[in-house]
Structures are given as structure tokens and as C-alpha cells.
């Protein structure tokens, strides 16, 4: 039987190409993701191993709170502790360390033209206290020396090359205090690399680093190395013994792992996203593969029946089909693995080219990746082939004596009953979005979305026939008999049509969902801005949607306030903090800081209780949803711990209901500044004086702020446009990931058509004999493809529409207030689907038209 399987594979190799391509694409995407993330993990492991190699013990503050966005927030260490640690027996060298990160408009080094060094969205600028002990740092002085005086700094070699600096130059840094000049006294390398994974390293004296990081004379870490003969565990134990309770000691190895993990957690999000889309692609692939095997089995009915007639058992038939699937799956998974490695190599090359100066590491193709790729490819193929294989065993031996019949069965009543039940259940779950009304309904809504799609796909074989006929009803009017034949052909094998369309439905449902969701988000944002923003201009960072919140120095607001024609400026910043409610529960959330003075002239946040003008420096404004969940009222007290270590009690002075403007918690700028000396604003809202000319004021602002890199001044329309373009760039990213699934679905359409045409050879020959032109025959195939793809698209879009409607309803409390149906965009998607369907039909149509009439109508 194995020989028959292999022979069968060989005979059908052309028909199996698309199956293989579908698996290859999905597996390549998965494997590529694994290889890429493993490689990046390895890069950072190596990088931080280099850092921690020299350190035997790292002393750090206790964890204040864990932040899913920024990692562990730790307490600061008293400077006096440095001496205590240094005095521990066995400590050979010691270094206090303080650092902060520069992004966007702050803590950046400027070149001679005032342009910030380093990419605006790439690796950050690292502001660090210079470690004078060369045995405690991975930095090596390549030229000059480390900073000694407070107006000196050292830069990494790559930054010096980019800025065109020479030792002795005065170098400008923009930070929260404005522009400051330092003398460049040294060039450093990171190990032997010109940069630390592409980052810009700015080495300052401890005092300067403390000032910029706002640690108020304290230090973040104390690094120590052991005297000869003492290992890192022993030294760490000794140091731990002298530490106060709010500090802890870890070994250098642990420190490296901790650092690496915090960086890698940033990638893990991408890993998850990429894997999800790879999974969707494979799911779509299952339909394509299953359809191919179904059709192949149907076409081999006679052959299988003959095998059964001459004595093959059912299980032998089952095994022969599954063996063929195994062979196809392994072959395709292997190809996919190779393609995935190539993909990862391509991405790292792109990363290298865009300046992320990654240390040279070979691609990490782990055995787990190889196994995962092969297993995924194989399992997907086998799962897809299982039902066709079982169907193959049901072929009765007598079928060998009958004409081969096209599988025209549509499914049972059980099936439609099941499909409708599942879909209805999904609809009930989705309706929770309306009945519940809070974001708690999200998991239910998600479940409903999945059930709805499953229900639609289950009922597909029953509904696809009538749907295609209805959809194709106008075709005979347009194209006469070719149109009639096209819709009849699409409807003649409902299972096949529905499996083909299902592959498309999944991808298109996601596209539709994202499209509607983005359109609604855009109009929600617009309407929120229209409602809440009363001012004339906004100053914000140009760094885009994906970076960390990019702030700029508080000085920007002061500069803007002094510009001619500016009447009011209200700066607004974000930070992260841990909040303790009166009920004792804790939560980590964003903390908004605003200047309450003049706020009511530019912003009009929705309030539930009290007003923003009630906010004083000892107070906090809490969002309504949190207030309700934790029974917080005006006058209650909330404890806040912010990054940097300060914990303080604030009194609730108002309850807000405007997450798009204020977020969850709001304090005054003064309060925030007292807790976090490194104050960064994210936006400055402003209003011009009566009679002032807005364009003039804006160009005045631009002139006044030209020294600050990476910020922009926008009028109302520009502000709305910037918000919308953030959504657009996110949507484009998702579209990019969904293309893979759509592509596989289109391959499926082409595949089904080719296989069907194969079956209809005789019929097509007859049509040609009685006078159908090649062009008419191509049109018939084309219209069939268009009908299937438009059906899949319409169903997919409807599902996407319903699901996004429910989700937006569920998220209405999160500022998604407007449900917008982007009819234009949806129409474009439908037209595109028809075009893609046409494209998918090109090869099958050409094959159909080239058919030799005599061969098609001969009887032998």
C-alpha cells in the first residue's frame, strides 16, 4: 500500500503543489518567528553576559511594583550603602551605577546641525554613570578617558562617528533642563563593538547621571567584584548580610539574566503576535489542504473502489491516504523550515541595515524549532486529510463499476442544526457587549466571535449552494450562458465551494474586523478630540505609535508660553505608578500629570463628580470605572508609588469619566514633579490670545522650539490627523500580517478550480465542440472564482462587522464611543476580493481553455 501512496503522490504532484505551498507558507512564518526571536534572545543573552561577566555581585533596591510595560520598578539605594558594601571583606572593587534612558526629545545628544543622534524609533540613548573601575564595566576606553568633571562626557565610538565629533569638542545634550553642553573627553567601545546593540551610550560622572535620572543623590545599583579566591555566590552572600531590608544582592550571572529577560519581554509581545498570525495562516491552510484531499479522494473513487474490490481492507485504504498526507506534510514542513530560516536571515539583515548594530551571532535554529516546524506541518496536514481519508474508506467496492460521480452531496440536517446552534450561541455571547456594558464583557464577546465564525463555517456546505446561486443570479443577464454556467458550477459541489470560501472567510473576517474597528477608533478619537479639546494647538513628540511614550522636557511648555500670541498652555504628562485603593487592593496603571491652571480653557474632560479645577497638589482624580469597582469617593485617600521610589498619600478630589483625555489617574504637575524629578511632558495643549493669528503663532512656536528635536506643533486638524495616522499605521501592520492568510486562501481557490476543471474535462470539451470560444470558457472559470471569493468575502466581512460592532460596544467605556461602518473601505475590500479571485483563476482558466477538444470528448 505504501507503494500505491507514493505512486499516487507522484501522479498527483501537480495537484498537490498548492497544498504544499499552503503548508510551506504557514510553517515558514512560524519557523521564521521562532528563529528570529531565538536569535534576538541569544544576541541579548550574549550582550548582557558580557556586561555581567565582570560583575560578581549586583546590589539593587527591592521591587516596588512590577509593571507589565516597564518591568520591575525598584527602590533607590542610599549613597551611604556604597561605603558599607565596599567595606565587606572580599570586595576587590566597587562601582555605584545610575542611569536613565533617552527617547524622542529628551536625553539626546545633538550633532552640529541640532539633529539627535540615533534613530528616533530604534535603540535608545543610554545615560549612564561612568564606571571608573575598568574591571566592572563592559565599556572599554578606545580613545581619551572617562569623564571626571561634571561637564565632561564620553560617547561610544558609533555615536562619535555619526555626530562627526572629535575629542575636545563641546557636545550638546537636550534634556529636561533644556540644552546643556559637555566636553567630549573619551570614546568608548562596548567590549569590542562600536555600540551596545545600536544604542547611544552617554557616559557621565555619577553626580550628573544622578541629576539627569532624578535619583536625588541616591544610586540605582552597586556593582562589586570579588577578590581572588572568592566566587560570586560567596561574595553575594557576604554582601547580602550587610544590606538593609529594602535592598537585595544578586550574583553577576543573575544580573545578566535579569537584564536580558527585561529586554526579551519586550520581544515576547512580538513573538506572540507573529505566532498568532502564523497560526491563523495554518488554520486557513487546513481548509485548503482538506479540500485538496477531498477532491483527490473523490476523483480516485474508482481506483479506491477497485482496491477494495480486489481485497484491500478499509484500514489499508485509510492508511494509504494518510501516508500520502504524511509524506506531503513532512516534505512541505521541511521546505517551510528552510524558508523560515531564510526569512529570519532576511529580517536580521534588514535590522542590521537599519542601524540596529547587532553583535554578530549566527542564526539560532534550535532543535525545538525544527521539531515544532515539522510537527506543526505534519499535524496540520494530517488533521486536514483525516476526514477525506475516512471518506475514502467508505467508498464501496461496487463504485468501481459505476461512472465516477462528482461529490455533490450537501450536508445533513444535523450539520445545519449544529451550525445554526453554534452561531446562535455565539450571537448570545456577543450580545453580552450590550447587556453588560463594561469591559468585563470582553472575554465573553471574544468567545462569541469564535463561536459565530465556527457556526458560519459549519453551516457553509448547506448554505453555500443557495448563496452562490443568489449571488450569481445577475450573471446570466450580464454574460448569458457563461454566467449561468459559472454560478451553476460554483453551486454544484457545495462542500467544496464552502471549504474553499471558508479559507477566505477567516482571513477576510479579520481584515473586516480590523477595518471596522480602526474606522470606529478613528472616528471615536476624532469625536473625543472635538468634544474635549477646546484649544488651538498641540505640541507633541513626533515619535510614532510603537515606541515607549516619548516625552519632552518640561521646559518646552515654558518656552511655548512665552511665544507671542500664546495665551494658555497646559502641559500633560504620563508616568507609571502603583496605586493602593482604600479597600487595600493594588493596581499598576498610567498616571497622568496636568497643570490645572488654565486647564478649563483648553480641555473639557467629562467628569462624573467634582471638577478638574478642584484638583490641588495633595489630590488625585480617579476614573469612574475604577472608582465604582473599588468604591472610591471624593475625600477617600489613595496611596501612590511611582517609578523612582517615592510613595505618598493623595486625597481623591474628583471622579473623571474621560479615559481618552485623562486616563485612569490624574495628579497635578507639581505633585508628579515632587515624586519624579525627571519630569517629562507628552503633550502641551495651548490656546492663542484673542485676535492672534494661528498660523503665525504656530510658526512662532516652531521657531522657539527648533532646538528641541523630535517634536511638532499641530493645529486641531493636524492633531486629529496625527492620532488617525497612528491608528492607520497599526492597521497597516495588521493587514501586512493577514496577507499571508489571504494568500493561502487564494491559492486554495486556484487549487479547487484546477481540480474541478480536471473533473469537468469532458464537459468543457463538449462546450468547446458546440461552439464556446476560449475566451468564453476562461470567463466561465473566472466568474466561478469571482463568485467563490466574493461569497467568502461578503460572509467574512459580515462576520467581521458584527464582531467589531460587539467589541466596540463592549469597549465603549474605554473611549470607543462611535461605531463607524467604513462602507467605502468595505466596498474596496469586496472589489479587491473579486480582483484577487480573478487573479486566482488565471492559471486554471488558461488550462481549461487550452484543453484539447478531441481528447476531452473521446470515449476511451
Amino acid at each position: 500500500m505504501i507503494r500505491i501512496s507514493l505512486r499516487s503522490f507522484w501522479d498527483h504532484k501537480r495537484r498537490l503543489i498548492s497544498t504544499i505551498v499552503a503548508i510551506v507558507l504557514g510553517v515558514a512564518f512560524m519557523a521564521g518567528t521562532f528563529v528570529l526571536t531565538d536569535t534576538l534572545d541569544k544576541v541579548f543573552d550574549d550582550l548582557f553576559a558580557e556586561v555581567s561577566d565582570k560583575i560578581d555581585t549586583q546590589v539593587q533596591g527591592e521591587v516596588l511594583f512590577s509593571d507589565p510595560f516597564g518591568g520591575d520598578q525598584r527602590a533607590l539605594l542610599d549613597a551611604g550603602l556604597v561605603e558599607t558594601v565596599a567595606a565587606v571583606d572580599g570586595v576587590a572593587g566597587i562601582a555605584p551605577a545610575v542611569g536613565t534612558i533617552g527617547f524622542g526629545s529628551t536625553n539626546r545628544i545633538l550633532d552640529a546641525d541640532g539633529k539627535a543622534i540615533g534613530a528616533s524609533q530604534g535603540p535608545p540613548t543610554l545615560i549612564e554613570s561612568w564606571t571608573t573601575d575598568p574591571d566592572l564595566t563592559a565599556y572599554v576606553v578606545a580613545d581619551g578617558r572617562g569623564p571626571v568633571a561634571d561637564d565632561e562626557l564620553a560617547l561610544n565610538v558609533a555615536a562619535i562617528e555619526e555626530g562627526g565629533f572629535a575629542l575636545g569638542d563641546r557636545v550638546t545634550m537636550v534634556n529636561q533642563f533644556g540644552r546643556e553642553e559637555f566636553t567630549l573627553v573619551g570614546a568608548v567601545t562596548f567590549g569590542s563593538a562600536k555600540s551596545s546593540a545600536g544604542a547611544t551610550s552617554v557616559e557621565l560622572t555619577l553626580a550628573q547621571a544622578q541629576r539627569l535620572a532624578g535619583t536625588d543623590g541616591k544610586v540605582q545599583q552597586i556593582l562589586a567584584r570579588a577578590a581572588d579566591g572568592i566566587d560570586e555566590a560567596e561574595l553575594t552572600r557576604r554582601i547580602a548580610a550587610v544590606l538593609p531590608p529594602n535592598a537585595e544582592a544578586i550574583t553577576g550571572t543573575e544580573a545578566g539574566a535579569q537584564l536580558s529577560k527585561s529586554v526579551q519581554s519586550g520581544f515576547s509581545f512580538f513573538k506572540v503576535i507573529l505566532s498568532v498570525f502564523g497560526g491563523v495562516a495554518l488554520l486557513v491552510g487546513i481548509f485548503v489542504i482538506s479540500n485538496t484531499f477531498s477532491i483527490l479522494v473523490a476523483q480516485r473513487t474508482r481506483e479506491l473502489a477497485l482496491l477494495r474490490a480486489i481485497g484491500a481492507s478499509r484500514s489499508q485504504v485509510l492508511r494509504s491516504v494518510l501516508f500520502e498526507a504524511t509524506f506531503v506534510g513532512l516534505l512541505a514542513a521541511g521546505l517551510g523550515l528552510v524558508a523560515g530560516v531564510g526569512l529570519a536571515k532576511g529580517v536580521t539583515a534588514v535590522l542590521d541595515a537599519t542601524g540596529a548594530d547587532l553583535p554578530t551571532t549566527t542564526l539560532q535554529v534550535r532543535s525545538s524549532t525544527v521539531i515544532a516546524a515539522l510537527v506543526i506541518g505534519l499535524v496540520v496536514t494530517l488533521v486536514a486529510a483525516l476526514i477525506p481519508a475516512i471518506r475514502a474508506t467508505r467508498v464501496p467496492p461496487i463504485a468501481a463499476l459505476r461512472e465516477v460521480a462528482i461529490d455533490r452531496s450537501n450536508a445533513s440536517k444535523v450539520r445545519i442544526g449544529l451550525g445554526v446552534t453554534v452561531a446562535l450561541l455565539g450571537a448570545v455571547f456577543l450580545s453580552a457587549a450590550w447587556t453588560d456594558g463594561s469591559s468585563d464583557a470582553l472575554p465573553t464577546v471574544g468567545m462569541g466571535a469564535i463561536l459565530l465564525i465556527v457556526g458560519a463555517i459549519l453551516s457553509g456546505p448547506v448554505l453555500s449552494g443557495p448563496s452562490v446561486l443568489a449571488l450569481g443570479a445577475p450573471l446570466p443577464k450580464l454574460n448569458g450562458v457563461t454566467g449561468k454556467l459559472a454560478s451553476q458550477n460554483a453551486a454544484r459541489s457545495p462542500k467544496r465551494t464552502s471549504a474553499t470560501a471558508s479559507a477566505l472567510i477567516i482571513g477576510v473576517a479579520l481584515v473586516g474586523f480590523i477595518t471596522v474597528f480602526a474606522a470606529s477608533a478613528t472616528s471615536s478619537v476624532t469625536s473625543e478630540v472635538e468634544r474635549g479639546f477646546k484649544g488651538d494647538f498641540v505640541i507633541q513628540s513626533t515619535a510614532g505609535a510603537f515606541g515607549p511614550p516619548s516625552g519632552f522636557p518640561g521646559a518646552v511648555a515654558d518656552t511655548a508660553a512665552a511665544v507671542d500670541g500664546v495665551e494658555v498652555v497646559v502641559p500633560l504628562g504620563f508616568g507609571r505608578g502603583e496605586f493602593t485603593y482604600p479597600d487595600g487592593k493594588k493596581a499598576t496603571q498610567f498616571l497622568t500629570s496636568v497643570e490645572p491652571a488654565g486647564l478649563d480653557q483648553v480641555l473639557e474632560p467629562r467628569m462624573t463628580d467634582g471638577s478638574m479645577t478642584d484638583l490641588r497638589d495633595d489630590g488625585i482624580v480617579v476614573d469612574k470605572e475604577l472608582a465604582e469597582a473599588h468604591d472610591v469617593r471624593i475625600g477617600d485617600s489613595i496611596a501612590v508609588t511611582v517609578a523612582g521610589g517615592e510613595a505618598f498619600e493623595l486625597t481623591v478630589q474628583a471622579i473623571s469619566d474621560d479615559r481618552s483625555l485623562l486616563g485612569w489617574f490624574t495628579v497635578t504637575r507639581e505633585t508628579y514633579k515632587a515624586a519624579v524629578p525627571e519630569l517629562l511632558d507628552v503633550q502641551v495643549f495651548g490656546k492663542i490670545a484673542p485676535g492672534a493669528n494661528l498660523p503665525t503663532v504656530i510658526s512662532g512656536l516652531e521657531t522657539a522650539l527648533q532646538d528641541t528635536p523630535s517634536i511638532e506643533v499641530l493645529d486641531r486638524d493636524g492633531f486629529i490627523g496625527a492620532l488617525a495616522s497612528q491608528i492607520t499605521s497599526f492597521v497597516t501592520f495588521i493587514y501586512g500580517l493577514l496577507i499571508l492568510s489571504i494568500l493561502i486562501a487564494l491559492i486554495g481557490i486556484a487549487n479547487t478550480l484546477s481540480l474541478s476543471i480536471n473533473e469537468r474535462t469532458r464537459e468543457l470539451g463538449l462546450l468547446r465542440a458546440v461552439g464556446m470560444h476560449r475566451a468564453q470558457l476562461r470567463a466561465t472559470v473566472r466568474w466561478e472564482a469571482v463568485l467563490i471569493s466574493v461569497l467568502g468575502t461578503l460572509v467574512g466581512l459580515s462576520l467581521g462587522l458584527v464582531i467589531s460592532w460587539a467589541l466596540i460596544e463592549a469597549l465603549s467605556s474605554q473611549g470607543l464611543t462611535v461605531f463607524t461602518m467604513p462602507i467605502g473601505a468595505l466596498a474596496v475590500i469586496t472589489v479587491l476580493a473579486a480582483l484577487f479571485g480573478t487573479a486566482a483563476s488565471i492559471l486554471p482558466a488558461r488550462r481549461a481553455a487550452r484543453l484539447n477538444i478531441l481528447e476531452a470528448i473521446s470515449y476511451e
Partner: protein, 254 residues
């Protein structure tokens, strides 16, 4: 678009003609001369049967004259139109507008109803069928109550009757029938052949039929015998017995 210009005036009573028609498959040692210089006229309003043993070239001759296959050399024409110079598009048009086909099996498109199958060539041309004519054709083949049925719901004989109706409905210049009764029992065969004979005698249709059944050939007004790619004999006003005798004679000679 290529126009189908008639070549030098043929006599109007010739519906189709082959002149020195030669068809060679393969080359060298494997060369097979399926047609070896066949010259034959098929008269308008006649029912001609082409007979011959297997491999005699009778089907090839029909395929070539009907524009389904091309010649290696020689000429074929239908209604004065030289088919050998036409491209695929023009040939398709000739088949659609000038020729009717009745095949042995797989004559009908399974997704179309009987009526839609009958009007298929006209639908492909975008022409409206001539309603009274269509009705009389449907009447002739007694299909009135079966028009909305799909082929899978019709018996073999009924399917062939639909095929005959399709061939007649477009009023083609000539109808080619390739073993039209090959898959039918004797009663259904007689019925189909009767319809074809009446189409010729009553409606003036021209039919060329390939068959190996002397009984079927006896319905024709003339029988042309082929052997080894050549025309070897001809018989007017045939009866089954005469045809059988000729075939025997041919077999003995060969």
C-alpha cells in the same frame, strides 16, 4: 476578427467537402496515416453514413470535416468556407453557427436543464432562438414535458433526444453524429435514428453520421466506406443487409 470568406464557388448542393484530406500522426517508424488523401462531398439535404472498421479513419474524417481537428494537408470546407485557413476563434464560430453535433455519450452539460442544453449554441452566440422552429424541433423529438429536467434526471434515450434537438435547434448547415446510438438499446436507437431520418426528409437537414452498425447505416441515403484512411466504396439507398455484405467484402479483401 477573421471573416469566413467563401472560397471559389462550390456548387450549392454540397454542404461539406474534403479534398485530398490527409492526416498523419507521428513520424518516421511510428507514422500513422489516419487519412490518406480523402476526397468526398457531403450533399445538402442528404443523410450520409461513414462506415469502416476500427482504425479506418472514419472518426478522424468526421472530426476534421467538422472543424474539431486539423488536417496535415488537403482542404475541408463547410458551406463553402475553407476551414483549413481558420484560427481557433473562427473555427469555434463555424462550429457554433454552422455545425450541429451529436456524440455517443456525454452530450449534455450536467448543470443545465434540457431546454438550456438545446439552446446552448445559440446562447453562446448570444442569439435568440427561433421560437416556432424550436417548438417544432422539441415536438419532433417529443421532449415537451422534460424541458426543465437536468440531464441526470433523463434516461439515456432522452438524453440523446435532447442532443438531437440541440443539433437541430440552431438550424446548422450540417450535423455531425458520432456513433449517436452507440450507448442505447435497440428501441431507443431506432427512435433516435428515426428522428434523424425525418429531420433530413421533412426538414431538409444535412446529416453526416459515423457508425459501425449496419442497422444504423441503413437509415442513411448514402454510405461511404473507409479503410486504411481511404474511401474504398460507396453505397446509395442502403439496407442493413447490403451494408453488411459490403463490409464483409471489405473485410475479405483486407
Amino acid at each position: 476578427m477573421t471573416t469566413t470568406t467563401p472560397t471559389a464557388g462550390p456548387s450549392t448542393d454540397v454542404a461539406a467537402r474534403a479534398v485530398d484530406a490527409t492526416k498523419v500522426y507521428g513520424s518516421g517508424d511510428t507514422e500513422v496515416r489516419a487519412l490518406d488523401g480523402v476526397t468526398v462531398d457531403f450533399e445538402t439535404g442528404a443523410f450520409t453514413a461513414i462506415m469502416g472498421p476500427s482504425g479506418s479513419g472514419k472518426s478522424t474524417l468526421m472530426h476534421c470535416v467538422a472543424g474539431l481537428d486539423s488536417l496535415t494537408s488537403g482542404r475541408v470546407s463547410i458551406a463553402g468556407t475553407d476551414l483549413t485557413t481558420l484560427n481557433d476563434k473562427a473555427l469555434t464560430q463555424v462550429r457554433r453557427d454552422q455545425v450541429g453535433f451529436i456524440f455517443q455519450a456525454f452530450n449534455l452539460i450536467p448543470t443545465l436543464s434540457a431546454l438550456e442544453n438545446i439552446t446552448l449554441p445559440m446562447d453562446l452566440a448570444g442569439r435568440k432562438p427561433d421560437k416556432p422552429w424550436l417548438d417544432s424541433v422539441i415536438d419532433t423529438v417529443k421532449l415537451g414535458d422534460r424541458l426543465t429536467h437536468r440531464p441526470s434526471e433523463l434516461s439515456g434515450g432522452q438524453q440523446q433526444r435532447v442532443a438531437v434537438a440541440r443539433a437541430l435547434a440552431a438550424r446548422p448547415h450540417i450535423i455531425f453524429a458520432d456513433e449517436p446510438t452507440g450507448n442505447l438499446d435497440s428501441r431507443a436507437s431506432a427512435e433516435i435514428l428515426g428522428f434523424m431520418q425525418r429531420a433530413v426528409s421533412d426538414l431538409g437537414q444535412t446529416i453526416v453520421m459515423v457508425t459501425h452498425d449496419p442497422g444504423a447505416a441503413s437509415y442513411a441515403s448514402r454510405v461511404v466506406f473507409l479503410a486504411d484512411g481511404r474511401i474504398v466504396d460507396e453505397l446509395l439507398k442502403p439496407t442493413a443487409k447490403k451494408v453488411l455484405d459490403r463490409l464483409k467484402a471489405l473485410g475479405d479483401a483486407g
